[in-house]
């Protein structure tokens, strides 16, 4: 039990490691990562769910961590950009982003990568997007228009979009799952 009714105990698994926190209920998942766990990879861009730079994977799904109170995610399992690589082995998406020069300032990149990882998983599950011609059949490969539509929740103010698209296209073609 915590003393204040406005605070809560919050158990979270982050990148495979368990954490026990005691947080003000107002703490977002993003602030819990950045301010309480010193995991500053997820970025605070707009803090209103509009830019995507705070994207993480919560229970396997890409979400915007700035619009989730940590207390509401308690018990959940989270992967942030710090957990995407396997030690010094980059995640295939990370390698493709490097090869394709898919960033300039890099601020949006952690969110782009986590979003792309979640997005590729959605495609593997056959989820349609608005760019999918045949809703029943599902996506017919990952065309550039599919990538652009599915990644529209991640803004890049440097406008590295063409290289982000080509990096994701290659990661998708070579298989990004681990």
């Amino acid at each position: 039990m915590t003393g204040s009714p406005h605070r809560s105990p919050v158990s979270l698994s982050v990148n495979g490691r368990p954490y026990e926190l005691d947080l003000d209920n107002r703490t977002t998942l993003l602030d819990a990562l950045r301010e309480h766990l010193a995991l500053t990879g997820a970025k605070k861009g707009c803090d209103h769910g509009q830019c995507g730079s705070c994207t993480v994977l919560l229970d396997g799904r890409r979400v915007k961590s700035c619009l989730i109170f940590a207390v509401a995610a308690a018990g959940g399992s989270l992967v942030s950009i710090e957990g995407l690589a396997d030690g010094t082995d980059l995640h295939p998406l990370q390698s493709c982003f490097v090869q394709h020069d898919a960033f300039q300032c890099g601020y949006c990149t952690p969110g782009q990568l986590c979003s792309a990882a979640g997005m590729l998983d959605e495609v593997r599950q056959g989820w349609p997007s608005l760019a999918t011609e045949d809703l029943v059949a599902g996506p017919d490969g990952l065309t550039d228009s599919e990538i652009r539509e599915r990644m529209s929740g991640n803004l890049c103010r440097c406008a590295a979009y063409p290289n982000i698209v080509s990096a994701i296209r290659e990661a998708s073609a070579t298989g990004s799952r681990r």
Binding site: P5, H6, S8, D24, N25, R26, T28, D47, H48, G49, G52, T55, R61, R62, V63, K64, L67, I68, F69, V71, A72, S115, G118, M119, E122, Q125, G126, W127, P128, S129, L130, T132, L135, V136, R148, E149, R150, M151, S152, G153, N154
Partner: protein
């Protein structure tokens, strides 16, 4: 942000009781709108009752056809549901036209219906707004109102309902199942959202403290021929400037039945019944589609910056119905050749 207590709902009755016991309580679904409004100071609950773990997360077929969709089903799961994709493409497309992949993974069906307007003035606590504070005045009426209503507005409020999903659901004759402090009740979606009138702060016909538990859509075999068309300022991840949900059933060259919903035009998802009536039994021609839209839009009153919405909705209606009836429609009379 004001401090708040947090409780997790375990069953719908307990969640309703918790909210009924605190005047400043709110249900927390995916949080994609509420958390933002709390950051902006627009929503200031003292208690959040998290409903995302209530056992309301399934999509079930109904005995006579149709679907019962639990209120906590995530938007992305509903859009990916095989039955929705096959039998109600208008609903899948409307869901997929809304927000972004991340937000659809978070947002719930109940929360989508209950999301608040994106009117700038409603979201800016430094500006008067009758929806936030009854009697304060409407800043949008003579302000930046390009995105706001053309139908059903009042001098007290010109806000629009921002949902895409609800526009498809209203065309599909959806019914909202709610649990209120007094008990369970059903409300047709066409009667769920209010027009602003004198009380734009009262957005739904649910009793205070009511919880959406499910949405039912009846069987509608011809909805397999349905779709959603959304016009917006950029290709993706933007609210609608205008949108049309449509389903149509043809009897040879004639319209046997048609359903039309309009989005981003009013305080509620707009069921275009006048246009539907105008088309029933008529030849499915481009000209008739246009006349039907005009029938619905005759009551439209544009604000200073949104007169474009009237031809936009007319054109969206025509293009959507032409797309759905391609191959069955008479070629348009040659013009200007």
């Amino acid at each position: 942000m004001r401090t708040f207590r947090y409780e997790r709902g375990t069953d719908p009755g307990q969640a309703v009781t918790l909210v009924a016991g605190e005047p400043d309580a709110a249900y927390l679904g995916g949080g994609t709108n509420l958390v933002d409004l709390m950051k902006l100071g627009v929503a200031r609950p003292r208690l959040l009752v998290d409903v995302t773990r209530l056992p309301l997360d399934s999509v079930e077929p109904l005995p006579g056809g149709g679907l019962r969709i639990g209120a906590t089903v995530r938007n992305s799961d509903l859009a990916a549901h095989p039955t929705v994709r096959r039998d109600y493409p208008v609903l899948a497309r409307a869901l997929l036209a809304g927000a972004s992949g991340q937000l659809r993974n978070m947002a719930t069906v109940g929360g989508n219906l209950l999301q608040r307007t994106r009117c700038y003035y409603f979201q800016d606590v430094s500006r008067p707004c009758n929806k936030r504070e009854p009697g304060a005045g409407c800043s949008a009426l003579d302000g930046q109102n390009r995105d706001l209503a053309i139908l059903g507005w009042s001098p007290q409020c010109v806000a629009t309902h921002p949902s895409d999903m609800a526009v498809a659901l209203v065309a599909l004759d959806a019914v909202v199942e709610v649990l209120e402090p007094a008990g369970a009740r059903e409300i047709p979606l066409t009667e769920f959202h209010r027009l602003p009138g004198e009380r734009p702060d009262q957005e739904t016909t649910m009793e205070p403290g009511g919880l959406v538990t499910a949405v039912r859509i009846p069987a509608l075999p011809y909805a397999r021929r349905s779709t959603y068309r959304k016009a917006r300022d950029r290709a993706s991840f933007a609210f609608a400037a205008g949108s049309v949900a449509a389903a149509i059933d043809l009897d040879g060259p004639l319209v046997r039945e048609v359903r039309l919903g309009y989005g981003a035009v009013a305080h509620r998802p707009w069921r275009a019944r006048l246009a539907e009536e105008a088309l029933r039994g008529q030849p499915a021609t481009e000209e008739n589609f246009r006349l039907a839209a005009d029938e619905e839009l005759a009551a439209a009153r544009a604000l200073a910056h949104n007169a474009f919405k009237i031809p936009l909705i007319r054109n969206l209606t025509v293009r959507t119905l032409v797309e759905l009836t391609e191959g069955s429609v008479e070629p348009a009379a040659e013009r200007g050749r």
